[in-house]
């Protein structure tokens, strides 16, 4: 083996990482070659220094293990949350968002329909005329009944008048507002009583005047 080859293998030789045959060949060479022996000594010294550096261990703080153990326990809790509670929480949030969106949507629609209804049904003589003209007989009969029978059937009479006005306003709206959707109709059902009450009061208070 030539010096160049021997020196190439020196790191492995020091680590005893070569075949037995090559190991002994290098040993023989080192015995009789000063230059390679010198080079070997350098490798040997270098690795001795590295070895002693690795033999000296840094201070180890055992309490770190407890800290890590607690971190893992947290992780375990978080995993449980992820697996069990997170989907539930996410679903609840989704439901809430959808519910709120639907609610907001309904509110916006309701305001729109209310505007439309207000345009048509704001207390005005056209509507009063419509109610009275279309129900003159019924209203007359009801008021006659009210005056003749007195307080006896007052509640019944009031209900009848209320229903009368309710259906009149419904019809009037149907004539004035076209292309109402199902949601619109539902909204109208919601807000119509407010207008029925207004017209009921108006008609009751001004009946005689109107009739005359």
């Amino acid at each position: 083996m030539k010096c160049k080859q021997v020196q190439y293998f020196l790191p492995d030789y020091i680590d005893s990482g070569l075949d037995n045959e090559v190991m002994s060949e290098i040993s023989l060479h080192l015995d009789r070659c000063d230059e390679c022996k010198k080079e070997y000594q350098k490798y040997f010294n270098a690795m001795e220094k590295v070895k002693s550096y690795f033999e000296e261990k840094p201070l180890y703080n055992k309490s770190v293990e407890y800290k890590i153990f607690n971190n893992i326990a947290d992780l375990k809790r978080r995993t449980l949350f992820d697996v069990l509670l997170k989907p539930v929480a996410a679903l609840a949030l989704a439901v809430m968002i959808v519910f709120t969106a639907v609610k907001i949507d309904y509110y916006v629609k309701k305001e729109k329909v209310r505007g439309m209804v207000e345009n048509v049904l704001s207390l005005n003589s056209n509507v009063v005329d419509y109610i009275v003209v279309n129900n003159i007989e019924d209203i007359n009969n009801l008021f006659i009944k009210k005056y003749t029978e007195g307080l006896l059937n007052e509640a019944e009479i009031e209900d009848a008048l209320y229903n009368n006005i309710y259906s009149s306003l419904s019809l009037y709206l149907n004539i004035k507002l076209k292309n109402l959707s199902e949601t619109d109709i539902k909204i109208i059902e919601d807000i119509l009583p407010e207008y029925v009450n207004k017209y009921y009061d108006y008609v009751s208070e001004n009946y005689e005047q109107i009739i005359l």
Partner: protein, 181 residues
Amino acid sequence: MHNSDEFIRDLKLKKDYAVKNVLNMYNKKLYFTAYRFVNNRESAEDVVQEVWLKFFKNIKSFRSESSLYTYLYRITVNESLRWLKKNKDTYSINDNIKYETASGKDDVFESLAEKEEKNAVVNAVTKLPEKQKSVVILRMENRLKYSEIAEILNISVNNAKALYSYAVKNIKKYLEEDNLL
């Protein structure tokens, strides 16, 4: 014994006894390994904490057939190298790494020459390219076989041997430059 299916199963479930056991078995070794990369006790502790978090987060994908310590060493090497990359601006090898008295014993009695020599060795290992450094640390600190190192670093056994050989040549060169040989 720790690779038994039952133990791995309990580890995956993060059962207290299994977690304690695995920490007791490996934490110190992983800490020493990380320390050789980052040369600082506090940073080594940070790296190892990260190693365990990664290990337990990904433990479901851990295949029992690959051995536990190989898997742990692999994460430790990767995390240490990641730390070095992340801190390369603040951590410069030319910046005279302050070598901590590893044993914790009072270093008042160490001569200046001894300290300088230690610094030179730390510098020499630190200056090595990533792969060479990893092989040297796994070989010298953990006394692992080339076959184990190869598995950890996902390289061939011959490649591991060659990397070690280059590393030794480089270390000798660096120490020669420091007039220590």
